[in-house]
Symmetry: C2
Subunit: 260 residues, 2 copies
DNA sequence: CAGTGGTCTAGACCACACT
DNA sequence: GTGTGGTCTAGACCACTGC
């Protein structure tokens, strides 16, 4: 009530398609207010956000309403609740959510048995986006983009070959050196260095055969089938921020997915 | 309080590893009571379960507690809430959740553009489980299982070749005829005919090359890479009920996955 | 100990669907 | 209108963390 200036529908414009009920529950409004603060960087990754009581006071609603808003944010992995301590801005740096978006696991099932990935930056250059790169990223053909090519190896076996495209604007200043230096997940560096938080992604998976260049980088024969994984990753508000085309060897690993 | 006979921890056995807090919130207990009724078939698929008020009265708790229990069941897709009408036992028959577990979509993105799948049962026979089939299904080597082989085609293009194994007990009476007759998703028939509801599944995906038999059934060359999708589907309580090995052509389709 | 999130309750009112 | 789920509130108490 204190927040919603719009009355409960009623006076919907009498035109065609009244399809929009034009009603939004209070906790949804609170949620999007919190979302705006997250987006604006009012609280940094891994920092605590204000307590439920504080937020309730700020927005002039009950604690229960704030709770429901935060519940949704938590279920979308935007914040993490920790009983007795507070609610924290989610990050890709924490141990147990590292590589949250990487679904390739060793056949043994034990992610730790293989040790950490060895990362090699093959290439990193600025160029102008072609149409097929620009479109998914929401850019225009010819806009500046950054291309990164890298290989991940597990136990000396090159397993993942990735081509990444990043919009030039938000990632101004990203260089091969910066990429080579950083430790930990790339998305953690994007958060820390560029303030870009990957929040959601969609992948399209196919089985393909490698071309010559890919054979060389992954050290496989031309007839070896590979998993092609095209990922479009988004920040807040579904803004696309990274296009990634990966080739996965699946002779000792598999892509693991949960359905429910 | 009315439900939980166990006191709030406190008297944990003084041995090693007091790791189990031995505390379960009331709504979790209510949730598992509802789950038991679901499992026992007290309410059939697509039927409404009692209203929140009724359940609250039955279990002697407040409506809010029942609500939270049902919320979790709904988020696990075990139950579907419909405002103004009631809460219904989820099913694989409804239009908009049909093929919930099938992540292969046409490249055009429009699932309906290709029309319904044409299904052909290649084989259906009873046999004794080998070790690699028995283990994931929680059976013993030599136990009776049913094997089904089928091909799904879209617009005359054979696209999916699947080998299914089902435990002989729960699926007693399943024949090639029954399979050929039924309309709609196979999982919908499992619910209606055998009372088996698939609730959760995990898939392991690889890129492979087909063998001769597979080439023939899918009408592809020996060098065409295919997606190998091994699915283990579970009923309530994580009991495995189906092992499915699928080969997907990805020349006009892709496996679509959402990450968050 | 104080402060945080987590649970539980009870009651009021709203949005929606059926009849 | 009646009954359903959905929202919102206010207050009490519990469980966990860190000082």
């Amino acid at each position: 009530m204190a927040v919603n200036p719009s009355l409960p529908a009623e006076a919907a414009p009498a035109g065609l398609e009244p399809a929009t009920p034009a009603f939004s529950p209070l906790y949804q409004q609170i949620k999007s207010l919190i979302l705006q603060s997250l987006q604006a960087g009012e609280w940094k990754p891994a920092e605590a956000i204000p307590s439920e009581m504080d937020l309730a006071a700020r927005f002039r609603v009950s604690q229960g309403t704030v709770r429901k808003a935060i519940d949704e944010l938590a279920s979308e992995n935007l914040v993490v609740r920790r009983q007795g301590r507070g609610t924290f801005v989610a990050t890709h740096s924490e141990r147990h959510v590292q590589y949250r978006f990487l679904k390739l696991v060793p056949d043994s099932g034990d992610v730790d048995s293989q040790g950490p990935a060895e990362r090699r930056i093959v290439d990193c250059k600025r160029l102008r986006a072609t149409a097929d790169i620009a479109r998914p990223l929401g850019l225009r053909t010819g806009d500046a983009v950054l291309q990164v090519v890298r290989v991940l190896s597990f136990g000396d076996v090159p397993t993942i070959l990735e081509d990444l495209w990043l919009p030039g604007g938000p990632f101004k200043g990203l260089t091969a050196e910066r990429l080579a230096e950083h430790r930990g997940p790339m998305y953690a560096m994007f958060e820390a260095e560029f303030g870009v938080r990957m929040v959601r992604a969609e992948e399209k998976i196919r089985a393909v055969l490698p071309d010559e260049r890919q054979c060389g980088l992954l050290k496989v024969g031309a007839g070896s089938p590979l998993l092609s994984v095209e990922r479009l990753a988004h920040t807040y508000n579904d803004v696309p921020m990274e296009l990634r085309r990966g080739l996965y060897r699946t002779d000792h690993h598999h892509y693991r997915n949960e359905l429910s």
